[in-house]
């Protein structure tokens, strides 16, 4: 088992944990953190599988750099929105869905 496969395997587990983490908790900060764990899992799979033969592959590494920047941007927007929601409602949670019905 190469180190690449260890990375890829851990990435898959992290991704699944991240998905559960986005769905389960109600606290927004935990959801946003879980989304980041999910993304990191996918990045690990991308890089890990790419270099499972042992030699480094620059293409997935560059893709992951792009992906990290995208994730940073999305996280920043999510945090800003979560803060605004907390300022307006005093709670770090999404209000119940049926509110507007």
């Amino acid at each position: 088992m190469t180190t690449g496969m260890i990375f890829a395997g851990s990435g898959a587990i992290l991704f699944a944990m991240g998905v559960a983490g986005v769905l389960l908790p109600t606290h927004l900060l935990r959801k946003i953190l879980a989304f980041n764990i999910m993304g990191s899992g996918a990045f690990l799979v991308l890089v890990g599988l790419g270099q499972r033969s042992g030699e480094p592959d620059p293409v997935p590494q560059a893709m992951v750099l792009t992906g990290i920047v995208v994730a940073v941007a999305a996280t920043a927007l999510a945090l800003a929105l979560a803060r605004r929601l907390q300022r307006l409602t005093g709670r770090m949670e999404l209000p119940p869905e049926a509110e507007r019905d």
Binding site: M38, G39, L49, M63, T66, L81, A82, E97, E99
Partner: protein, 487 residues
């Protein structure tokens, strides 16, 4: 190389990005005319591209001159050209509408034009990209632009809707990205043209899993029932021009990608009538029934239109069990693409008309519509015409779309789908007539009506009329769809 300098493929992406950035530099709320001129040029580019395709060309643009798999290719087929044309054609009247809609220094207006520019750039880039990872970047660009537009109101409801939308869209693109990572691991490439000959039925289990992840992720982004929960508050709570853009175009972008993958690189993995195709079809049926049911029950006018979108998305997914069995499979594909086009026009008409009604009455409820039939007949007529398309009555494009879908379903003996397609039309009639009935009620005594710019009414009417009249020109769309070797 002067032909490359004017390549519409590249300019359809560069141009909106350029005017979006420029509008931001110009200042808060500025850039309306820049945007309108920009979108008009984009419409010209999309027409030129469609013409090139119909003339037998197969437009491909290797970015950076490297070519796949090292570089990223842009490519256009009939399906992509249809979507490009639709996007620019709907965006142009909506831009004109938005210029009159936003008045004063409303917070929605401050970054509206840059956000719309990036939204259009993202969609155009998505339609022409032939690279799985590049598609991921365009999906994120599209998602963030759409969330920004929803969040721009700044109130509690809009912020919560934007956040719910953002988290759903991020989970969707996350699943898609993991699928891309597995595909790269399996084949060593993310280029669609390189992957197409490599993927076959004996593909390893990881590729099947990757396909599942990508499709599920995109389905969440398309808001197929039961993943629709984020859509009604986001589309219903945004200002009318934003609702129209999101409902008419943005959900179609991820649906387009599902179609592109389903008919393209994932096709060898999917046996005709596979379980996953039926799952998609049955969820589509669920969407039609549930979305219509909620639309009939909601007291809020814009939420009614938003729930109608949930229902109409269902039709887009009914096609999957019908695809590729026999030759009528083509009719099913034509029907679903035509439905996407008809719905885009009708739904933008409905949201723009709803925007006029809400602006004039100052109320968002359907009960508050009493008396508008005499005061805003043109707008109400636009709403009704758009309703004709959603119900699928002749001669509208919606009729042609439903006719093709029904024909395919009957031809294959899928009576459940036939029943739901027909029922969906009747349910659409129920929620459209609910609005019309209230509009024709006599106005309460002390009613005050605010003046609304005529331009808003005319845009709504123009969009609605084109959704009906397009039925007469449906064959041209189908010809474009078949051009360039697609389907």
């Amino acid at each position: 190389m002067t032909s490359a300098a004017l390549d519409p493929l590249a300019w359809l992406i560069l141009l909106p990005m350029f005017w979006a950035t420029l509008a931001f530099v110009l200042g808060l709320g500025r850039g309306a005319w820049l945007a309108i001129i920009g979108i008009a040029l984009q419409l010209g580019l999309a027409l030129a591209l469609a013409g090139r395709l119909l003339a037998g060309g197969v437009p491909v643009h290797p970015v950076g001159g490297w070519g796949a798999p090292l570089g990223i290719d842009l490519a256009v087929d009939g399906l992509a050209a249809t979507m490009l044309l639709l996007t620019q054609a709907v965006a142009l009247p909506l831009a004109v509408y938005a210029r009159s809609y936003f008045t004063g220094d409303s917070s929605e207006r401050r970054f509206f034009w840059p956000l719309v520019g990036f939204l259009l750039a993202a969609m155009n880039a998505l339609f022409v990209s032939a690279d799985l990872f590049n598609l991921y970047v365009t999906l994120e660009l599209l998602g963030l632009a759409a969330v920004g537009l929803v969040a721009a109101g700044g109130k509690v409801g809009q912020t919560a809707a934007a956040l719910r939308y953002l988290l759903s869209t991020l989970v969707g693109s996350g699943a898609y990205l993991l699928g891309v990572a597995m595909i790269y691991g399996a084949y060593g490439s993310v280029s669609l043209s390189t992957l197409a000959p490599l993927v076959d039925r004996q593909a390893p289990a990881a590729v099947h899993l990757a396909a599942g992840l990508m499709l599920v992720g995109l389905t969440v982004k398309t808001a197929l029932f039961p993943f629709h929960f984020w859509l009604p508050p986001a589309h219903g709570g945004a200002p009318a021009p934003v609702s129209a853009l999101l409902s008419a175009l943005v959900v179609k972008a991820s649906y387009y990608l599902i179609l592109r993958l389903w008919l393209g690189i994932l096709a060898p993995l999917l046996a005709p009538g596979a379980a996953i195709a039926w799952l998609a079809g049955l969820l589509g049926c669920g969407a039609i029934l549930w979305g219509s049911f909620k639309a009939i029950g909601t007291p809020n006018l814009k939420m009614l239109v938003a729930y109608s979108t949930v229902a109409q998305i269902g039709y887009l997914f009914i096609v999957f069990p019908l695809l590729g069995r026999t030759s009528p499979g083509d009719a099913a594909l034509q029907g679903s693409v035509l439905h996407a086009v008809a719905h885009a026009l009708a739904k933008s008409a409905m949201f723009t008309a709803a925007g006029v009604l809400v602006k004039a009455t100052g109320q968002e409820t359907i009960d508050g519509l009493a008396g508008v039939a005499t005061r805003l007949p043109l707008t109400l007529f636009a709403f009704a015409l758009a309703g004709v398309t959603l119900m699928g009555l002749p001669p509208s494009a919606g009729f042609l779309a439903k006719w093709l879908l029904l024909g395919a379903a009957i031809g294959q003996g899928q009576w459940l789908l036939v029943a739901v397609i027909v029922a969906g039309g009747l349910l659409a009639a129920a929620y459209v007539f609910r609005v019309l009935r209230h509009a024709f009620l006599p106005a309460p005594v002390a009613v005050s009506s605010r003046p609304v710019p005529r331009m808003l009414e005319w845009v709504a009417f123009g969009l609605a009329a084109s959704s009906v009249l397009l039925g007469l020109r449906g064959m041209e769309i189908l010809r474009l769809l078949a051009a360039g070797g697609s389907s």
